[in-house]
């Protein structure tokens, strides 16, 4: 007799623990306005990305198509994956002296691990991290980017 009673109480206790859990889920079921999910592709306009978010490396240009990159190559040395290639050219100044300048700042997005070391090391603040995170492309050759825009030149007064 005793064993039957303990058997039944065990079952009832078990059902009670299940109901306790069900109570939690029921609470959320009947309060759906507390949802935490986001309707992602639809909410692109209202989506807030943190300003420090590391999505890609970009080189900001001003309205005169000028940037701050001197072509020193420190970002290339600091990159752990070889995502950055610097191709320089030499400019001949008015007084006849030669000066190094950036020809192409090549950035391989597909190899980048977004560690921020290049941005941290840049002495002139020429490259920063952009917030764009939608990098899916059809052809991976498009992941190789040239960061300095065509025809751009270095800003006045930026020295390395």
């Amino acid at each position: 007799m005793k064993s039957i009673i303990s058997y039944i109480t065990e079952i009832l206790k078990g059902i009670w623990t299940l109901l306790t859990g069900m109570k939690v889920t029921a609470k959320y079921f009947f309060t759906p306005w507390k949802h935490v999910t986001q309707q992602y592709p639809e909410n692109r306009k209202t989506l807030k990305i943190a300003e420090r978010f590391r999505g890609e490396v970009i080189m900001p240009h001003n309205e005169n198509n000028e940037h701050k990159c001197t072509g020193c190559g420190i970002c290339e040395i600091n990159c752990p994956n070889g995502s950055i290639e610097i191709i320089t050219k030499s400019l001949i100044l008015e007084d006849g002296k030669k000066k190094r300048a950036i020809d192409q700042h090549i950035y391989h997005l597909g190899m980048c691990t977004f560690c921020n070391l290049c941005v941290k090391a840049c002495p002139t603040g020429a490259i920063v991290m952009g917030q764009n995170f939608e990098h899916a492309v059809w052809d991976r050759s498009t992941l190789t980017k040239v960061l300095n825009q065509p025809g751009s030149k270095i800003m006045e007064g930026v020295k390395d």
Binding site: R52, F114, C115
Partner: protein, 377 residues
């Protein structure tokens, strides 16, 4: 198949109804590409042999060709749920070698960040544990609360998972102006959510039947196998480095080392649940007292360690993580060895799971909180 046949032939005590199955490398409850060769008799597990190497990325070898600040970002990718602690271990090791003293502010922020990532890691472990047991509900609750921590990381560190925040010499950035407000709001919110976890899973009769008294690990065996972290502490092995070898700001806070002398699957579950409360208490003690100061000390452009061998260990969410650097005075290390907690913990599984049912093996593996890139780095 040849390998399977070879094991079948070489094992002496094969009976007619004993057979081998591959659990993994693609199995939902191994949480990654881990392959367990399980020898079964009916449902009873006779032997479990973990086979690793499916996700070997050669991080230790890669580190030999990188400079010291560059190594840190690779450790994010080992135990991605304890990325902060891994970064911190490398940073501390390099700082100790160079005998650089970082400001108190850095120590406080590092400790808070480590505890936040421990919370995030335990939350993920909890929800995945429920999922392994067949309770998919828990998965959504755990991830819902983890999202808040990841948002804090995103705001301050610029990344959600692979943060690369602690670098040799200090931190990558100063904390975001909203950091303290957000962390306090999160702690306040999570204090109401954690009891919900208990109501959902801890008392659940199906869950307790499957975990209580299943998969024992004694203290002696835990020490012999080098099982650390919550898994070891559930067996009574006092191995919390935060308590016994304090680093960063852990010597300035009061917290309990959670120990249990039962050593079964349910004890491992409860130790982690209690650790979440302790982590919250550590964060609460520090968050209002972050001292003013610099967030990093100025390091040389090229960091060169003096010749010698350097070791630093920290407590990650999974156990003791060690960084061993052999330097020959150049800017790259001569050799780097990572002592990852998951690797040592995993190989106790054969000892624990022997004699239990194959369904218990899933429960046991779940409480080990395995992260495969940590095992197979």
């Amino acid at each position: 198949m040849d390998e399977l046949r070879e094991v079948m032939i070489t094992t002496d005590e094969i009976k007619t109804d004993e057979y081998l199955i591959n659990m993994g490398p693609q199995h939902p409850s191994t949480h990654g590409v881990l392959r367990l060769l399980v020898q079964l008799e009916g449902e009873i597990v006779h032997n479990v042999q973990p086979h690793i190497g499916y996700i070997h990325s050669g991080i230790e070898k890669m580190a030999e060709s990188l400079s010291y600040p560059q190594i840190g970002h690779l450790t994010d990718r080992m135990d991605y749920l304890s990325a902060h602690q891994n970064n911190e271990a490398v940073a501390l090791c390099v700082e100790n070698a160079l005998q650089v003293e970082v400001p108190d502010r850095v120590k406080y922020i590092r400790t808070i960040m480590s505890e936040l990532s421990r919370l995030a890691s335990h939350q993920l472990w909890w929800c995945v544990m429920g999922m392994d047991m067949g309770a998919l509900t828990t998965f959504f609750y755990g991830l819902r609360d983890r999202e808040d921590i990841l948002d804090i990381f995103e705001e301050t560190c610029g990344a959600r998972l692979t943060v690369n925040y602690s670098i040799p010499g200090g931190l990558m950035f100063d904390i975001h102006p909203n950091f303290q407000r957000d962390v306090k709001a999160f702690i306040k919110k999570f204090k109401t959510k954690l009891p919900e976890y208990d109501r959902l899973l801890s008392g659940n009769v199906i869950f307790t039947e499957r975990t209580k008294g299943v998969g024992f690990l004694s203290k002696e065996d835990a020490i012999a196998y080098g099982v650390t972290g919550p898994t070891g502490r559930a067996s009574g092995f006092a191995c919390d480095l935060r308590k016994h070898r304090p680093y960063s700001a852990y010597d300035k806070v009061n917290f309990k080392e959670i120990l249990s002398d039962v050593g079964d699957t349910y004890a491992r579950y409860q130790v982690r649940m209690a650790e979440m409360w302790e982590s919250m208490s550590i964060i609460e003690q520090l968050i209002d007292n972050i001292p003013e100061g610099d967030y990093a000390v100025k390091m040389k452009g090229v960091v060169k360690l003096p010749e010698g061998e350097f070791y630093q260990r920290v407590e990650t969410a999974r156990g003791e993580f060690g960084v061993f650097i052999v330097s020959d005075g150049k800017k790259n290390p001569y050799r780097v060895k990572f002592r990852s907690p998951g690797f040592s913990n995993l190989f106790a599984i054969n000892h624990i799971a022997k004699g239990w049912k194959i369904a218990d093996l899933v429960a046991i593996m779940s409480t080990f909180d395995l992260v495969i890139p940590d095992i197979d780095r």
